[in-house]
Amino acid sequence: MQVVWLRSSLALRDLQAFIQHTVVYCKMDPKLQKTKNSSSNSANSPDSTHSLFPFPDEVLERVLSFLHSHKDRSSVSLVCKDWYDAERWTRTKLFIGNCYSVSPEIVARRFPRIKSVTLKGKPRFSDFNLVPQHWGADVHSWLVVFAKVYPFLEELRLKRMTLNDESLKFLATSFPGFKALSLLSCEGFSTDGLKAIATHCKNLTELDIQENGMDDLGGGWLSCFSENCSSLEVLNFASLNSEVSFDALEKLVRRCKSLRILKVNKSITLDQLQQLLVLAPQLIELGTGSFQQELTPLQYEGLGIAFSNCKNLQTLSGFWEDTSLHLPVLYSACPSLTFLNLSYATLRSGELAKIVAHSPNIRRLWVLDTVGDKGLEAVGSSCPFLEELRVFPADPFEQDLHHGVTEAGFLAVSRGCRKLHYVLYFCRQMTNAAVATIVQNCPDFTHFRLCIMNPGERDYLTNEPMDEAFGAVVKTCTNLRRLALSGLLTDLTFEYIGKYAKNLEALSVAFAGSSDRGMQCVLQGCPKLRKLEIRDCPFGNAALLSGIEKYETMRSLWMSACNVTMSACKLLAKEMPRLNVEVMRDEGSDESQADKVYIYRTVAGSRRDAPPFVVTL
């Protein structure tokens, strides 16, 4: 038997080549077929393993421990039983994109050595109030199982999950080595839960609280960190409003020499920020507090110096409210910035122009549409390396056409920033011609999310539907993975998508399409589609059922305010037992209408915790 020692610094590409070569080798060997088909006959495995794979299990496990991507690991686990076993023993990071696709018990059985868990819960449209309260995605049942099976759990990252303070307290007290907690778009908890985390997690390295529907009962939680706590590397409480004890914060920052990400909230003033920067010049990411404060010339100078001493700063965010007064203090930090998040700052074009003029290395930029087309022109001329642009609406419900950005701003960016591949753009008018030009300038789009804010809006110059715009996008951008549509769209858009968007994984549709054909084109034409969310479109039963074979290859389908009926949903549920077909009805609507449908693949069967308004068929 040969033993091959692999260097731990093996390059990933070499590793992948090695594994692929071995996979091919295994697949070509007729003996492999027996191993794959035999059930749990472990008596056979030692001999067949060694003839198939000339390395002992330990080597395979060591090799596999270099694999981090869960997609790669999934592929590896499908090679043969022994690789499945080796993979499950070496997996330490768990990623579950839909918490109802699997149960905590199943996960615990398969993976014995998990240290880090990422869990996502509610459908994405819950961010926009389309999912009623108390829908589910409670993390508690997961925590209970984890406490038994993974007592050494270190990281928990939750997105769109529900959790209450009891769960946070349970988390804080059940896992002695717990290090990192990240909560994004979650709800149901309050700052009392954070108190438990700060108090009990002695080795905390990360506390990242972002945009949650939580109750802010006060800033006392920050003072709960013990005086011995010096391990923090990430602290983000930007979205909490209550005042925290600056004294406690200052001492914490002083102790935590490894702090690299600090995002404070609005209660922190500019001179307090300056003191923090002096204590932590090693910061890589900074979220400022309130930028509104009258500074004396000395304070102003001190702040500028503090910023210039942060040589590693790559990301800046925060800037709550009207911040134009003191922006120049940032200029010294701008040249090293790669990500600038100004999406809560109501800046005008001139102010943005000055900032981007100092930030030539920006890769990602988030702004409010108050910067206008002129501000975006400045971006186009100052940021040649820009890869991602997000323009959010300052006034999403105002009908005033004179505010915000138009196709001109987007065009200007596309002319100057040829590496642009991710865009999220809220605007009030657009033309097919502009989009066609934009994608010609930037053919590498992987994420194209265009939101023309008035539903069903036409090309304002030609009065035509916006079909040709999205047609141009899918024809030109062959790497497109995520697409969000808007404007007046007929089935033609969907024909284009089905025909050209062969790498599309996520599609978001609202107020679009003319008939079932639209949805059918997408379901039949997009082989890599994983997530489809549809609202207010004239797609009905024929469309829904045309995807009957496809839904098991996808993570989920959401359809609301379309023309789907209960009978079609029941049929789908009957034919496809490994899908959960869940229906929520609106108040006062017809018994036969399926107002909101959420369909997802699962190995866990129907939800046991579904509230009464969720009917699983």
């Binding site: 109501t346 006034d395 009908q399 539903p455 379309c562």
Partner: protein, 184 residues
């Protein structure tokens, strides 16, 4: 193509409601949504709407534009703050014994001393010295304010910014009631 027949279909449309009324709670709907049973009432004809009173805001569709609640709330709060910055924060001021009330813009002042001097000038009286322990000592007047919860509070206890954001009206108390405060 369906969307070109917008105008004609409206004329023969059957819907609930008195003839000639327009259900303003429905949004402007592209015609391709007509097939959806729930939306059959109240489609608005675009041109007719523009002739009417234009300030009527279009009703909001749930969850559209797709902006997360957190961001919506932050922006709304910022707008409120901006409005009061621009439009001023006028509150009524009453003085015990005075025949009529006054109004002042508290956003104009930067701190408590500025505000109190202005009140003294307006009503021609003098306020005592503030201390945390005893309130306003040395005069028979004390400035109070009604906060968001409807309670009457002594001016000066909370940070200035917090006061500005929670003050609904001012009242300058006089006489024996004032002495009572000093005993608290």
């Amino acid at each position: 193509m369906a969307y070109e027949n917008d105008m004609n279909l409206k004329a023969t449309e059957l819907r609930l409601g008195l003839p000639g009324t327009i259900d303003e709670s429905q949004i402007k709907e592209p015609s391709f949504l007509k097939s959806n049973n729930k939306r059959s009432s109240g489609d608005m004809d675009n041109s007719a709407n523009e002739d009417e009173c234009s300030p009527v805001p279009k009703a909001q569709v749930v969850g559209w534009p797709p902006v997360r609640s957190y961001r919506k709330n932050v922006l709304q709060q910022q707008k409120k703050n901006f409005d009061s910055d621009v439009l001023g924060m006028y509150v009524k001021v009453s003085m015990d014994g005075a025949p009529y009330l006054r109004k002042i813009d508290i956003k104009v002042y930067k701190n408590y001393p500025d505000l109190l001097v202005a009140l003294e000038n307006m009503f021609k009286f003098s306020i005592g010295v503030y201390s945390e322990r005893e309130g306003y000592n040395g005069s028979e007047y004390a400035p109070t304010y009604e906060d968001k919860d409807g309670d009457w509070m002594l001016v000066g206890d909370v940070p200035w910014d917090m006061f500005v954001n929670s003050c609904k009206r001012l009242r300058i108390m006089k006489g024996s009631e004032v002495k009572g405060l000093g005993c608290l």
